[in-house]
Structures are given as structure tokens and as C-alpha cells.
């Protein structure tokens, strides 16, 4: 079947770059090209002894965790409102919140740079990146959480209230457990986006770079490339683990709500 053959070829195209990562990460040579020179774990060792990298990783983690939490909280509000009774202009409001999804990231970066540095005269730092990352993660959170809320029968909460719970009690006891998997996958997805985001971070990072900005710096030094490969290998492994958890949670959520699986994250 030609279509299946094409699909497999396409998957190879998708995975080709990632497959090369570990190969060069363990290659005992500074030039990133075939033929391979032999096996080494030296590049991973170098990662451990580079304080600048550790600093960058720390920055990235702070940014990613904060962005994920804030974006998910805001996303819960928006997604829940999205399922509720409509009012004039609601589509426009939600559309505007979703706008960063189709806005070139450089526009977000530039506009925040102008306001923070030029207009307000504040120094750049991790917080400026967090502000921007929340903005670009929010649409993804809303998309994921919409799925979680949409699978929810509206009369569930009413039933809880009918059985004596307050509005908040109904949300906590019924809605929250049912959308919990969606929340987890929203957190993980924003975390992953933020951790990997470069275009905005490059514009908005202050004196201490985030991990992608640090990697960008390394790419200019050929002798550092194997280290980048080693770092990339770890990141890919980490992403796969996080995404697998996110996907498992999403499926569990569907099962819990008694729904059929219909698709992926978006």
C-alpha cells in the first residue's frame, strides 16, 4: 500500500534529525560528520562541569515552571468561560486571547521589548521572559483544557449543587477531578514549550541566558558542538518522557469521563 509506505517515509523524515543526536553525542570526535570516530561519554561529562550551563538550565526551569503554572491557571478560567453561556463579544475576547497562536513569535518579542525597555525602562530578566511565555503558552493550555471541559456534561456540576454542594464545592469535588488529567497535560505542554522557546527568550533575556539562548551561543563554536549534541540528547529524552506522561494523562482523562479517544493534543 503506497500510502502506508509514504507515511513511514514521512516518519523517517520527521525523526531523521533526532535520530542523529545520540549518534553524535556519543561520537569520539569534534566534527559532526560521518564517519564516526568511536564511542565516548566525554561530552556528557563536560556538561556536568560547565557552570554557565547549570545557570542557564536553572533559569529555564524557573521560567518554564512559572509560565506553565500561570498559563494553566489563566487557561482554566478561559476554557471554563468558553463552555459557559455566551455573551455578546465573547468570541472576540477568546479569539484575542488565542491570537498568539497565529502571531509570529518575533512580533510578541519585539512588542514586549519595546514596552519593557523603551517605554518603562525596566531591566530585562527572567520575569520578562515569563510574561511573554505565559502569553504564548495560554492558547495551547486553552486548547488542551477546552478538550477536558468539552467532555464534561454540564449537568454534572448542577447535580452536585442539587445534592447540597456550593458552586465552589461542586467545582472542587466533581469538575476538578474530571479535568485533572487535562490540567496536568496543560502544565506539561506549556512547560515543554517554554523550556524550548528561543526566539522570544533571545530578545528578552537579561544578563543570564536561558538554556536555548545558551545553546545558540555554543553553536558558534565548532569545538562545542559535541557538547550541544549531548545536551540535545538529554533534552529529547526528557521531552519524550514528559510527553508520554502528558498523553497518558489525557487518555486517562478521557476514560474517566467515559469518552472515546478522538485525537491528539491540539
Amino acid at each position: 500500500m503506497t500510502l502506508r509506505f509514504y507515511a513511514v517515509a514521512y516518519l523517517i523524515f520527521l525523526y531523521a534529525p533526532i535520530a542523529l543526536l545520540p549518534i553524535f553525542a556519543f561520537n569520539d570526535g569534534t566534527i559532526i560528520a560521518f564517519p564516526l570516530q568511536g564511542f565516548t561519554t566525554q561530552w556528557f561529562g563536560e556538561l556536568r562541569t560547565t557552570p554557565a550551563l547549570h545557570e542557564a538550565v536553572k533559569n529555564s526551569l524557573i521560567i518554564a515552571v512559572s509560565s506553565a503554572v500561570i498559563a494553566t491557571l489563566l487557561g482554566i478560567c478561559a476554557a471554563r468561560a468558553g463552555q459557559m453561556e455566551t455573551f455578546p463579544g465573547k468570541g472576540g475576547v477568546i479569539g484575542f486571547i488565542m491570537l498568539p497562536l497565529v502571531l509570529p513569535e518575533i512580533i510578541v518579542a519585539v512588542s514586549l521589548l519595546v514596552v519593557i525597555v523603551r517605554v518603562m525602562g525596566l531591566p530585562l530578566g527572567n520575569w520578562t521572559i515569563i510574561l511573554a511565555h505565559v502569553l504564548i503558552c495560554m492558547p495551547f493550555c486553552i486548547a488542551v483544557l477546552n478538550g477536558a471541559f468539552a467532555g464534561l456534561d454540564k449537568s454534572m456540576e448542577e447535580a452536585a449543587m442539587d445534592l447540597g454542594q456550593s458552586r465552589w464545592g461542586a467545582f472542587r469535588l466533581v469538575t476538578l477531578p474530571l479535568i485533572a488529567p487535562g490540567i496536568v497535560s496543560s502544565l506539561l505542554i506549556s512547560f515543554t514549550i517554554s523550556l524550548d522557546e528561543f526566539i522570544i527568550a533571545f530578545f528578552l533575556s537579561g544578563n543570564s541566558p536561558t538554556m536555548p539562548v545558551y545553546i545558540w551561543g555554543l553553536l558558534r563554536f565548532p569545538e562545542k558542538l559535541p557538547v550541544v549534541m549531548a545536551l540535545g540528547t538529554i533534552l529529547v529524552a526528557l521531552s519524550i518522557v514528559l510527553l508520554t506522561i502528558a498523553e497518558t494523562m489525557r487518555r486517562r482523562g478521557l476514560r474517566r469521563a467515559g469518552l472515546k479517544d478522538t485525537g491528539g493534543f491540539l
Binding site: 456534561d153 449537568s155 454534572m156 448542577e158 447535580a159 452536585a160 449543587m161 442539587d162 445534592l163 447540597g164 454542594q165 456550593s166 458552586r167 464545592g169 461542586a170 469535588l173 466533581v174 477531578p177 474530571l178 474517566r256 469521563a257 467515559g258
Partner: protein, 361 residues
């Protein structure tokens, strides 16, 4: 005296849409009450107003003498069985049934026993540990019932509870609901669009159209003496003929198109009429076909069979009668010795003035 719920002048607007147009209604203690009407007539809105999920735009609602204004759903002495049942999928059957007992001061053991009794009452003893998502439609319905009844509400509200079930299951649940209501003695308010369901189950029925109550009566009155053409055509089948009132009194003299002049008891005009043009309603089962060799002392009119629909136990005939605009629909039991007539057969139709309903307009 034994009134439980009192609705006065209830109006509900959604934007410009007038969903409830001044509902006045009193529901008694311990009765099985139905809100019947086509979809969009406001019956569910009215039920949700009683439950506290909708605020009336105008009007007052009191339950057991207490004004329900600003009383949220969770503090009202009502419990609801939702159309979708709204069984919490993350909880077990027992947890679902015990959901409303969280603030109950009883001990954990007592609550567990209460849950067991509730499950037993709806025929689900031993199902407590099952996952709610693993239940069939009929079982979910029972869980929803147990979950609502365990709180011993003054009123149980049922929003189209049988619409998701197949025909057999629906008929079985109708009987069980009646039995359950008699057993617990709680007022049940049922919302349904199924007239048969309402007739079978209810002590009294309010028929609603476009946000208003068309008629409020017990099933028999509703069926035999509908007050309007709308009610008459919504409930059961009815032939409509043109008529003219010629004299009023304890019995009303009417000239019925195609059937002739007759005297109708005044109670057969429940909606009230005035002299002049009216509509005369006749139920198909109050008409009969006079077979060869049969005689009757009632009035007879000649007709020709226009259409035959065979149902097994019954046959529905459309019979064309001179002077009657639409063919008369007649239902006949398929008794032994009664052949099914063919289309085009000349026949005679028996009718009785006592079974006519006189309707205004």
C-alpha cells in the same frame, strides 16, 4: 391545604426570548405531577426554576410555605434526576449515591447502610463497588434515582428521565417509577414530551405550549375534555369537524358538518363556547364501524373507506363521509369475526353525541 409548591406569575426571559409567560401553579404534597409539552415549550425551564438552576425574571416561588427567592439549588428541599443522569464518572456507584451525604451528621457506618438501603430500593443491591461508567442506561437511571432519594427531598424533579431508554426499558421504568413514588410518598414532578408517559404515570398533568399552561387536569379529564384544539391535538388522536352552536343550556344544541344536528352535554364544552362557529372533536375510539348484520340504537352515518392501517391488535380506518372535510379516523379492535375492510368499501359509522368535545374556534 396540602399544597407543597406554589408558583405565582413566573416569567422568564432569555434576552428577548420569553420562555415562561406568567405561570401560576400549585403542586400538592405526595402527588405525581407532570409537565407535558412539545420541545421548547418551557417545561424544562420551569422545572429548573423549581430546582434553583434558573432565576425567574419575575414572580414568586415557594416550597412548603418558604419563599425560594435567593435560596440556591443546594439549599432547596428538591433533588433532581437529570436527563443525562449526570452520574459522576470518577466515583463508584456507592460514592455517587452517597454524594449528597457529605454534610450529614450521621456516622460513616450509618451512611453506608443508608446507601445500601437506597440501592436496594432501586433494585441495585450489591452494585455499590462498581464503577459508574460500567453501568447500562437503565442502571444509571436507578443510581440517579437512589442518589436523589437518599436525601429525602420534599420534591423529586425528573427531567425527561426515560427519554434515553429504549421502548421496553422505558415501559418497565414507568411502572417502577409509579411504584417507587407510592412507596416513598414524595412529590414527583416529571418533565416529558411523551403524552402517553404523562397519562400513564401522573396524578395531574400541566400541558404547556410556548411558555404558558394550556390545561391543568388529571389524565382522564385531559383526555376526555381538552379545553382547546391545541391540547386536544397534542394528546392522543382527535378528529376535528366544523360545527355551529344553535342553542345553549344544560345541553348544547350543535349542528355538526356531515353528522347533523345533535344535543351535547354542557360538560363536554370544558373550554367554554359561545354561539356560532366552533370545532367539534371526536376521538377515533369513540367512533365505530357498523359491520354487516350488526345493529345499533346509536346514530349512524354512511361513509367510504379511504385508507386502512393495520396494527395487529387494532386497525385504523380513514373513512370519507359526505360533508366532512377530512376523512374520519376510526380505531377498531380486531375482534374475532371482524374482517379487515378494504379501501373503497362502503360502510356505516356509528357515533354518539356524548363523546363529542366542543372546542372554541
Amino acid at each position: 391545604m396540602n399544597e407543597l409548591i406554589r408558583l405565582r406569575g413566573i416569567h422568564k426571559f432569555y434576552g428577548d426570548f420569553h420562555a415562561l409567560k406568567g405561570i401560576n401553579l400549585t403542586i400538592r404534597k405526595g402527588e405525581f405531577f407532570s409537565l407535558l409539552g412539545p420541545s421548547g415549550c418551557g417545561k424544562t425551564t420551569l422545572l429548573r426554576t423549581i430546582a434553583g438552576f434558573e432565576d425567574p425574571t419575575e414572580g414568586t416561588l415557594s416550597i412548603d410555605g418558604r419563599d425560594m427567592r435567593r435560596v440556591p439549588a443546594n439549599e432547596r428541599p428538591t433533588n433532581m434526576v437529570f436527563q443525562s443522569y449526570a452520574i459522576f464518572p470518577h466515583l463508584s456507584v456507592a460514592e455517587n449515591v452517597g454524594f449528597g451525604l457529605r454534610k450529614d451528621p450521621r456516622s460513616k457506618d450509618e451512611k453506608t447502610r443508608a446507601v445500601g438501603r437506597a440501592l436496594e430500593m432501586v433494585g441495585l443491591a450489591g452494585y455499590g463497588t462498581r464503577r459508574a461508567t460500567a453501568l447500562s442506561g437503565g442502571q444509571r437511571q436507578r443510581v440517579a434515582l437512589a442518589r436523589a432519594l437518599i436525601l429525602e427531598p420534599k420534591v423529586l424533579l425528573l427531567d425527561e428521565p426515560l427519554s434515553a431508554l429504549d421502548k421496553k426499558m422505558r415501559e418497565q421504568m414507568q411502572v417502577e417509577l409509579i411504584r417507587l413514588q407510592r412507596h416513598v410518598g414524595i412529590t414527583f414532578i416529571l418533565v416529558t414530551h411523551d403524552q402517553e408517559e404523562a397519562l400513564v404515570m401522573s396524578d395531574r398533568i400541566a400541558v404547556m405550549f410556548e411558555g404558558e399552561i394550556g390545561q391543568l387536569a388529571d389524565p382522564e379529564t385531559l383526555y376526555r375534555r381538552p379545553v382547546s384544539k391545541k391540547v386536544a391535538s397534542f394528546i392522543g388522536m382527535m378528529n376535528f369537524l366544523d360545527g355551529r352552536v344553535t342553542a345553549e343550556g344544560p345541553s348544547i344544541a350543535v349542528e355538526v358538518a356531515g353528522l347533523g344536528r345533535c344535543e351535547v352535554p354542557a360538560e363536554q364544552a370544558p373550554g367554554g363556547i359561545s354561539a356560532g362557529a366552533i370545532t367539534v372533536g371526536i376521538r377515533p375510539e369513540t367512533l365505530a364501524i357498523l359491520y354487516e348484520g350488526e345493529t345499533t340504537d346509536r346514530r349512524v352515518v354512511d361513509g367510504v373507506v379511504d385508507e386502512v392501517v393495520y396494527y395487529g391488535d387494532m386497525t385504523y380506518y380513514d373513512v370519507r363521509v359526505d360533508g366532512v372535510e377530512k376523512p374520519l379516523t376510526i380505531s377498531m379492535k380486531n375482534l374475532i369475526g371482524r374482517p379487515v375492510l378494504d379501501v373503497g368499501a362502503a360502510t356505516r359509522v356509528v357515533w354518539d353525541a356524548r363523546s363529542l368535545v366542543l372546542l372554541a374556534g
